[in-house]
Each structure stands twice: as C-alpha cells, then as structure tokens.
C-alpha cells in the first residue's frame, strides 16, 4: 500500500510514522470523573496550567477522544461505566490512571466497593502516583505518554484486543462480586 508523491512512493511505514507524529501532538482526552482526582483536572485545563498548550483538549463524548483519564479510585459501579466508555473509544486509545488508588487501592485498601488494581480490568499506559497528583504531575504524565507513543510502547489497546477474553472474565467476576465457593444469595 502506498501513495505516489512525485516520483517517490511513500511507504505504509512512513505514513504510520507521520500518523504517530500527529497523534502525539493532539491528544484529546476524556476526563472521566471517577473520583477525587477530578478536582485537579479543572486547574490543569484552565488558565493557570493551560493544558491546551500541548494540544490536549477535553472532549465531551468517548467517540471523539484518544486518552481516557481515570481520575482516582474506581468503585465497581463506576468500573462498569468506565469499561463501556473505553470500548466506545476509537483505537489507538490510551489510558492514564491517577493516584495511588488505581495502582493498589491506596487508602481504600480494605474497602469492599473499590477495585484495587485497575490493571486487572483494563490496560493502563501511564500511572500517576500520589494522592492527589499535582497539576505538574498530570502534565508530566501526558508528556511521558507522548514519549511512549513516539517509541511505540503505548500499546495497551492492542493488549486489550489480544487478551480480551481474560479481561472480560476478570470484569465479569468483579461486576458480580463473585467469590469462589460462596455465591449463594444473602
């Protein structure tokens, strides 16, 4: 596959290099307000820190977005919505997860309703540590994501396609609060 420009034929690889260049300079995000992290999103988007400098813009619907921001802890009820949103997004798509609670549960480590490791349910490309992450940290995460895209390492969406069955199984278990051995109705 290729396209003639003058006497040079641009190969498919070159086109995809160009696509990588442009997709890294225009990351449209969907900031899913899943938890407290959402409070630091407005400062990042508005006049003090101004994310739009880097071509990052907030979007209204999942169809239009490239990056899904998981802003904070996820309850099981939210996870169901997050996965719906993630599946509606168009590839290539990336996930940035905020805060300690998405990494290992953070301060809600013994809560019955928050999932502890986001990685078990959807692939995550970049984590931001802290509670709360500072706006500088958020911008830093985006720049890291740009680097990863450039190096071709931000391939979470391909992993999701490849291990789709395993992810679905994990999601099904957590949605139904399925504990092996005790599934009788209370």
């Amino acid at each position: 596959m290729g396209l003639y420009i003058g006497d040079k034929m641009m190969k498919y690889e070159e086109w995809s290099k160009l696509a990588i260049k442009v997709s890294k300079a225009s990351l449209w995000m969907l900031h899913f307000c899943t938890g407290c992290g959402a409070i630091e999103m407005p400062p990042v988007m508005t006049s003090r820190y101004d994310m739009e400098r880097f071509g990052i813009a907030p979007m209204a619907t999942p169809r239009q977005a490239d990056v899904l921001l998981i802003t904070g802890y996820l309850t099981v009820k939210t996870l169901r919505r997050v996965i719906q949103v993630y599946e509606q997004m168009q590839s290539p798509k990336y996930v940035i997860a905020f805060g300690s609670c998405t990494i290992n549960g953070g301060m809600y480590w013994d809560s019955y309703n928050t999932i502890k490791h986001l990685e078990k349910y959807i692939p995550v490309d970049v984590y931001i540590t802290g509670c709360m992450p500072r706006p500088e940290g958020i911008i830093n995460a985006f720049i890291k994501l740009m680097e990863l895209i450039d190096e071709g390492k931000a391939r979470g969406w391909e992993k999701y396609q490849k291990y789709y069955d395993k992810y679905k199984e994990n999601q099904r278990r957590v949605f139904n609060f399925e504990i092996e051995g005790e599934n009788e109705e209370y």
Partner: protein, 374 residues
Amino acid sequence: MKEYELFIGPQHPGITGNMMYHLWVDGDTVTKAECNVGCLHRGFERLMESRLWMQNIPLVCRICVPEPDVNEAAYSMAVEQLMDWEIPERAKYIRTIVLELARIAAYLMAIGSYAGSIGIYTIPQWSLGDRDYILDIFEQLTGARIYHIYIWPGGVRWDMPAGLPKLIEKTLSYIEKRLELYDDVLFENRIFFDRAIGVGKIPCDKAIEWGVSGPNLRACGYGYDVRKLEPYAAYDEIDFDIVSYPDLGKFDTHEAGDVYTRMLIRRLEIEQSIAIIRQALKKMPEGEHILKHPNWLRWKVPAGYAFARVESSKGEFGYFVVSDGELKPVRVHVRGPSYTHGINVAERLLKGANIADVSQILFSLDICPPDIER
C-alpha cells in the same frame, strides 16, 4: 416527538461529578427524573469504624472534594464534644480563616462550573485560575493543595507562618478586583437573566421540609446560617450579616429560590467571606495553636453520642459520632448537604424542567456527589 429516555452521566459534561440522572423526556420537557448514585461509594463509614480516631482525619477530608476542610472541622468538633475540650483562641481564629478560604475556593469553583453549564467558557477559565491562588495559600499554610489534614481535634496542626497574613490580604484584594470582572461578564449579563430568572424554583414554603440548607435555603428567603445559629470556631466574635433573599446588595431582586438568586447568593457570600477573613486576621490573638494532646495511638474517646454541624459552601454539613469508649469509633455518620439537594430536591426540580435547563439547575444546586455516597 414521542417520549424518550435520556441518561445523563456519569460521563457527561453537564453533570456535577460522578453521578447519574435518568430522565424521561417528552419533546423538550422532562416528565420524570430519577437519580442514580453510588459511583463514588467507598464505604467510608465502614472504613472509619476500623481505624483509630486519629487515623480518620485523612479519611474524612476525602468526603467533600471541592471543600475538604469542613469535614475535618466537623469531625474534630464532634470529637471535641465527646472529649469536652475547649480549643485555644488562636486555633479558633485559624480555623475560621481556613474555612472561609475554602469557602471562597468552593464558591469560585461553583460559579465557574455553573457558567460553563450555560455556555460562557470565559468565566470557568478565570475563576478556576483565580481559585488556584487560594490553593497557593493553603500550600504555604498546610503543605498540600487539596487535602490539607490541617484541622485536628484540639486545634490545628501547625501555627500560621508569620508572612502568611500578608499573602492572604494580597490574594483577597486580587479576588475582589476580579469579582468586578465576573459581574461584567456573567452576573450583569442580559442572557444570564433570560436563562436563570424563574428557572428551577424551589417552592419556598416547602424548602425547610425538603431539607434544603445553605445558600439554597437562603435564596428562598430564610436567613438561616449555621455560623449564626450555632456559632463554631470564632464566628461568634466576628461581625457579619447573613446574605439572604430579598436583599441582594447591588443586584436586582427577582424571584425567590430560582437559579438566579441561588447563584447571586454565592457571588455575594464571596465578598462576605473576604470581610470575615479580614476581621479574623485583625482580631487573631497570640498563643497556642493546639491543646496538649494524648498519645494519638492509644487515645480512647469517652462513650457517648455527639453531633457537630458546620456551614459549608454547599449547605449544612453534620457529623454524628458514636463512641463506646474504645480506640475506634462505633459509628461515624455524615450528613452531606448534597444528600437532600442531589436526590430529593433535584428529582423534584427537574420534573417539568426544559432539557436545556437540566444542567444549570444541577450546577446551581451545587451538588457534590462524594458527600451523598461517601
């Protein structure tokens, strides 16, 4: 057009955080609204029962994200009631200043997100940028931008640094100057009048029965404010007047309890808070900032029931704490103002509203879902 169902949230620009409304719409009019919450339910109250009294301070501030300090204050006050502690004078004044700064920050955020919901994106950009200067003060005072963990049972964690009053004064006069700009663009805008007057009216005779509180109640013409009813911190020594309908200062008075009045009450209370902080800075005495406290790890609180309430930017915040004299609380129950505003009041107000007004009604009630679900 036939009747259809519309799901708003949790991923929707026109929703106040992570919650959902299920609307039944006929043409342009909402015929029925049902609130669906629980997306933020972390089981806080369960977690607090399994942690020490002191370990709960970092937890409680996560209950209301835009204005975390009221939670620390209310929880500390409830514990102080059980302990029969009287906190030092200086700590009272510092608490007042912190709570009022947090109120200004929360109001700036509320005004910004309301303005976004009616489509004027300049105001959120300005007001959230200005809010950041208040977060800077917090950073100098407490070391954190959002979750301060600063108000403790028995006082405040650290004393106020010497140079801080100067910075606070500078920021306050900056915000005062900016408020005039907000007036020009939003609060004196003809289209704002057209959009907001008469929309989303809380019936004033029902307001108390429905459990409306805070600025939303004052917009209905009841001058009730916890800061006056049950003065906490240093509010009993500070001179201020409650802003309530129909006295809206330099703005025109229109209908009671509608979106317009609710937003203007918030706008006017920013000025009120600025005046309170100035007074408190002037009156603040020297002295200790915290009581001599026991070993937090082996701290037992006497048995009993205590209830403390504070006035947050969203309404009346209450903490009901039950102790049986052990290391851990038996029960901590949080009364969030959004619990009534977001479910009962919003469901009733949305019924019959125009679909274009749904989002502005929700934002003008200033619903904060984490304190509904906890």
